[in-house]
Amino acid sequence: MANKRIDEPTGTETVGHEWDGIEELNTPLPRWWLYTFYATIAFAAVYVVLYPAWPMIDRATGGTLGWSSRGQLAAEMRAADAARAGIRAEIAATPIEALPANPQLMQAAVAGGAAAFKVNCAACHGAGAAGAPGYPNLNDDDWLWGGTLSDIQTTITHGVRWDAAPETRINLMPAFDGMLDSAELDAIAGHVLSLNGKGKPSAAGAQLYADNCAACHGPGGGGMAAMGVPALNDAIWLFGGSAADIKRQVGNPRHGVMPAWKDRLDPVTIKMLAAFVHSRGGGQGPAPAAAAAAPQAPAPDVASAKKAESDG
């Protein structure tokens, strides 16, 4: 390495190596680059002390700031909870029937319910709350257990046929397979379809329906909402609306089960879920009238005008 010399044309020192006559100039780094490099070293030294850095046997060194990504997430969640605390307290203090009278609170409840729905309900009822065979559609105007805000709240709180909840919604339809033969079941299915203007009515079917079904489902198939008995004279079928589907359901009824959410969710979340489900278009009861009475609240000043959706 003793071959260092000053390169004549450039006036710069060489690094002293030579390969096949090729030499390299020892051009200094640009100073800004050098200082940036030193700065990164200083940064690293500080970082190693403050933050988790050195991998040890089972974990990395903790760092004096005690920072962790889990801790950061927890802090962010706490901050989000804190930010929501006010509106949640307000929702908690408002009876659910009174929610629609306060459009802002209702809007917040619906938004919160939409988020909770995706996490807790969408698995069975679908992301769009449109349900599936056996899992009721929550958008339509057909309600097994009532479609007012408080009805929905009760159903979510205590569940449907949920044994662990004493106040759960429960009813049972007997299985007619064995009590009636196949032809009789066909006749009943035909009559049920005829209640909705489809299928073939028959005297035998009408008689069988009156003897076996009308007590609960009503002579006209109107159902009994207080007991959760579905109406048979409408266009909506939970377990399918073909003659075969109906025959199967009469012979060996299936019964949906929904957990009681009071054990899993807090009352405010349940209230928000009820508001969301109610807002999907089929909500019943005094709610729509109250909502109509409430003004659309033109923002009285700039600050609240901005709260209205303001993108183009």
Binding site: N139, A235, Q296, P298, A299, A308
Partner: protein, 515 residues
């Protein structure tokens, strides 16, 4: 970095080149060859030399004062002008409301969907720079550029604390005594105060100025406000107080773009060498009047230059064409009884003509060029287009998003319901009553929303859209059993004298549509 050396160094052959290509380059052409061997040995880390420009008075200096006054007044005062827009919009004349997504400029209010106005203004600003360059050369650099204006301000601060050129040079070279330290600290404090005021004024454009000022000092303003002020204070302090002409020479792309845009018809600051050369003092000239030109080599033009260039070396990137050397030379010429204009605004073409004996031409004649007129035409056309668009834009808007999940809903009685999310836009600064109606659906079709319940469902309904806002409205449209529809439209009409209408076509999904 070697360039800074060149700028200070008088070229061995001081006679500037009349060859345009060389003259428009960074340095007088012939100088390069002589410097090259030296240049190769230059230290990579050349130290910047502080420019201590001498005070000068004259018409161009006074013009520069006026421009500085106007631009700084606009910058510092504009956000404080109030502008009444009624109770539903802010009363600040110029406000870039990023959080609320509105740009306010006096009577003009820009919404995010109208961002093309901002794009148009930026294009106009770009072409405006071309226009100005084509008409009056680097006038932007010389007078209006913030870097120039703030450098000017800081140079006056220097003058106030440390005296004029010679005193400042002396103080710079002097050892760091207590007195010098105190002086420097005082000067830098003033730098910092100006820089802070500059950074502080910037954020006023983005929020209500009086409120933000209160919040800022009480510690309640947004962190981004403090960060912005800190960054702008730092950059103003550093770029205006210390970097100065180095920003123009090394950092700014605009001088380089302009060197490509200048040609022989561009207005530049020129030293009329055929008149000035050969330089010599009055005494020498008295002895050999036939040998010496008008330039008495007093170096005043170099002393007053805010970027420290010698204009007698020809056009160069460091020359921001502020014209202070013209003021200086004119004064000297007056004192020695020679005609003014040895250094003057002129085009290279004019210089050629004058050198050949043509009379001097007033500088404004350089303004009327085909290229300038083309730029002016394009610039004005864009401006007129924007004004037309602004005057004819609708202040009502409607967008429709159909629910996809579920696409339709079968109801108990067999009727079919679709849901739509509507956005009703009201760009007026007052709540407006509007009518939302269905078009093209068979009889029996009805609509209801959060505002109008199912019991009152109809084919049309009234909505009051809040001032200066977009209202989100979820609308349900229902078709009775047995009817069918493919497409239809929502029509939104404002129930006021404007009678604006927005119509959006959409579809109606039915069971079986997707099979």
């Amino acid at each position: 970095m070697a360039d800074s050396d060149q700028l200070e160094r008088p070229a061995p052959d001081a006679r500037p080149q009349r060859d345009w290509a060389a003259a428009l380059g960074t340095q007088a052409g012939t100088a390069r060859k002589a410097i090259e061997p030296d240049l190769l040995r230059t230290d990579l880390y050349v130290k910047g030399k502080t420019v201590h420009n001498k005070r000068i008075d004259g018409p161009l200096r006074r013009f520069k004062w006026a421009v500085m006054l106007v631009t700084l007044t606009i910058y510092y005062a504009l956000p404080w002008i109030r502008w009444d827009r009624g109770p539903y919009a802010p009363d600040q004349a110029v406000l870039v409301d990023l959080a609320g997504r509105r740009f306010y400029m006096f009577d003009i209010e820009i919404w995010p969907h109208e961002f093309y106005f901002v794009a148009g203004l930026l294009i106009m600003a770009g072409i405006g720079l071309f226009l100005v360059t084509s008409a009056v050369g680097r006038a932007w650099c010389g007078y209006a550029c913030p870097q120039t204006v703030w450098t000017d301000v800081f140079q006056h601060v220097d003058r106030f604390f440390d005296g004029d050129r010679n005193a400042r040079m002396k103080l710079d070279a002097a050892p760091w005594t207590a007195a010098k330290t105190v002086r420097r600290l005082a000067k830098w404090s003033v730098y910092l105060a100006i820089a802070f005021w500059t950074g502080g004024a910037w954020i006023m454009y983005f929020a209500d100025a009086p409120t933000l000022t209160r919040d800022f000092w009480s510690g309640e303003a947004a962190p981004v406000a403090y960060a912005t002020v800190a960054v702008l204070t730092g950059t103003t302090f550093w770029l205006g107080g210390f970097m100065r002409e180095q920003v123009c020479i090394y950092m700014c792309p605009w001088p380089r773009i302009q060197t490509a845009m200048l040609d022989e018809k561009s207005l530049i600051v020129t030293y009329k060498d055929w008149r000035g050369e050969e330089r010599g003092s009055l005494k020498k000239a008295a002895k050999h009047p036939e040998r010496y030109g008008d330039c008495i080599d007093c170096q005043l033009c170099v002393a007053v230059c805010p970027t420290g260039v010698d204009i007698r070396n020809g056009q160069q990137i460091g020359c921001i064409t502020c014209g202070l050397c013209i003021d200086a030379c004119d004064r000297v010429m007056r004192e020695v009884g020679r005609p003014r204009g040895l250094i003057d605004y002129a085009t290279l073409e004019q210089c050629e003509a004058e050198a050949a004996g043509a009379p001097a031409q007033p500088a404004w004649k350089a303004l009327l060029r085909f290229r300038t007129l083309v730029y002016l035409g394009v610039w004005s056309a864009i401006g007129a287009g924007l004004l037309f668009a602004l005057g004819t834009r609708a202040h009502t808007g409607l967008t429709v998003a159909q629910d996809r999940n579920p696409p339709f809903m079968l109801l108990k009685d067999g009727s079919v319901r679709n849901a739509y999310t509507l956005r009703l836009r009201n760009m007026e600064a007052r709540p407006r009553a509007m009518t939302l109606a269905l078009e093209g659906l068979p009889a029996g079709a009805v609509m209801w929303t959060e505002a109008v319940s199912l019991e009152n469902a109809a084919r049309a309904q009234s909505v009051t859209v809040p001032a200066n806002a977009t209202q989100v409205l979820r609308a349900y449209v229902m078709l009775p059993p047995g009817s069918h529809a493919d497409g239809f439209a929502f029509r939104l009409t404002s129930d006021d004298e404007q009678g604006e209408t927005a119509r959006v076509e959409t579809t109606f999904a039915m069971p079986g549509d997707d099979q």
